[in-house]
């Protein structure tokens, strides 16, 4: 798993998608279930694409707030395409990435995250999930 190294003071750690190898005999996990599982694994989870600038902007937003998000770079995972499609279904609109989950619950794409930050609901959510300490 490659490390995200866009900035020298990277304050989020890249996550390993827990099944790096395709399960041979076990039933393939439904992408949506996988999303849920991954999202519940950390206080704040971002599904991103390593080359996407908007995803970079979102990561910088959380870093600026002093938050360490868990980032899944879908372009670096064989099952990434499926996850992206599942996310598109969840959100109900195209071009889903980046997508944020806080405390296992879906917050949304960039515009929803910005809106919730401006209207003051993002910080309490982060605190509640334990991603942010005053």
């Amino acid at each position: 798993m490659r490390h995200y190294q866009k900035s020298s003071h990277a304050s989020y750690h890249p996550a390993t998608l827990h099944h790096a190898r395709y399960p041979a005999a076990a039933a393939a996990e439904d992408p949506l279930q996988r999303v849920v599982r991954l999202a519940s694994g950390s206080a704040i989870v971002i599904f991103s694409v390593s080359t996407c600038c908007m995803c970079h902007a979102l990561k910088r937003l959380f870093c600026g707030m002093g938050v360490n998000p868990t980032v899944f770079e879908l372009d670096q995972d064989p099952g990434g395409g499926e996850i992206e499609r599942a996310l598109t279904l969840l959100l109900g609109s195209g071009s889903a990435l980046p997508v944020v989950f806080i405390g296992g619950k879906l917050v949304g794409a960039m515009d929803r995250v910005m809106a919730s930050h401006i209207n003051g609901t993002l910080v309490p959510l982060l605190k509640e999930a334990g991603a942010l300490w005053l």
Partner: protein, 454 residues
Amino acid sequence: MASTRRVLGEPAALSGISHHLPYSNPHMLHNHPPDTSFGRNQEESSFDFGELEEPIVLGGVKINKNKTKETLYSSVKASAILEMLPSWPIPRQRESSKSGEESTDSGSALIKPDSESPISTKAPSDHHKTARAAAEDDSDREHDDLQPPQPPLQSPDIQMESARTGVSQSKSAAKQTTEKTLRRLAQNREAARKSRLRKKAYVQQLESSRMRLSQLEQDIQSARSQGLFIGGRATTGNISSAGAVFDMEYSRWLDEDIGHMSELRAAVQSHLSDGDLRAIVDGYVSHYDEIFRLKGVAAKSDVFHLITGTWVTPVERCYLWMGGFRPSELIKMLIPQLDPLTEQQLLGICGLQQSSQQAEDALAQGLDQLHQSLLQTIANSSLNDSMHHMVIALGKLANLEGFVRQADNLRQQTLHQLRRILTVRQAARCFLVMGEYYGRLRALSSLWASRPRE
């Protein structure tokens, strides 16, 4: 009458010329003063004919004569003028009568602004049709179909006599009047002819412009089909580009903004009830929602137009951030003007300033990464696969729309949050301050543009 004229004069740049076009209304030709000098003194026209005289060189324009006519006409009422004019008697005499009677035909109608033309020369004029009479609009003769009563004319009797005898006691006086009249009427004819020529010139200009426009449209289409023009995703029609359409919508939005501002000002000063004030305040928020929606549409077709900022004034352009205003700067400007605020409100607003600042920083960093990545793509392309890299670069460039959209989203959310934190009355004053602030920036641009230069 004045209003009809203005309708014709719709294109501002051509308003002067179009005012002279009489084709839509026969009355206009008659009420149209032959010279500029007349126009200034009649309530109908409000433009300076004289300004047009110079650029359109038609030859034989005698402005001196006009000036003398000006004093004459300004001091004499229309009915009195008519009393001086010959009517029936003149046609009897051949050499001067022909011109005189046609002049009467056109002149009298021209001079009397009312719809009634008291001097009816229908019958005699039919007999004497010259080239000049034929050249005049048919509307002239239509006009004369009205058969109003003949006003008491003193001089016609005298003129009739003089026409018959050729020599009489008051012949010199009558002749002098007749000469003046003839001169005047000749001026009328001149002016009418000039006006016709001007109309022809204008129409020709229109035709050539139209051809040029269709040529340009064809060029754009061919360039677009060759893939050189990227903003063709949302075709807003072939007449104007998305940028031009947005500029039009934005100028309309600015006009509406002025309306909202005066409404807010009046509401705040007149101490309306909270309910009524709320409607006005919420209306202003919707007004801003509308421009954000329009910008979203424009961003799809031509994001560079929004970013480059030709749609705002130069001073505003200095402060343009991602195609619009910077929310944190706006909040910073507003805070001292919003007094008195409760502690909770102050906390909320400072929090708003901080969160908008953070969001702006994040977007700026994302955009910066886009710029870097784009430059790298273009710089790194070798000779072989430069086209491939260009395609990749194009894909990256497409992300610009997303950033402008997020920036507008940020602006919109900031305004909504501001509305939530403040009371109705505070919000009204807040929006007044905001509108005034941006209005001053725009005014500064105008002042700067018109400043005297050495």
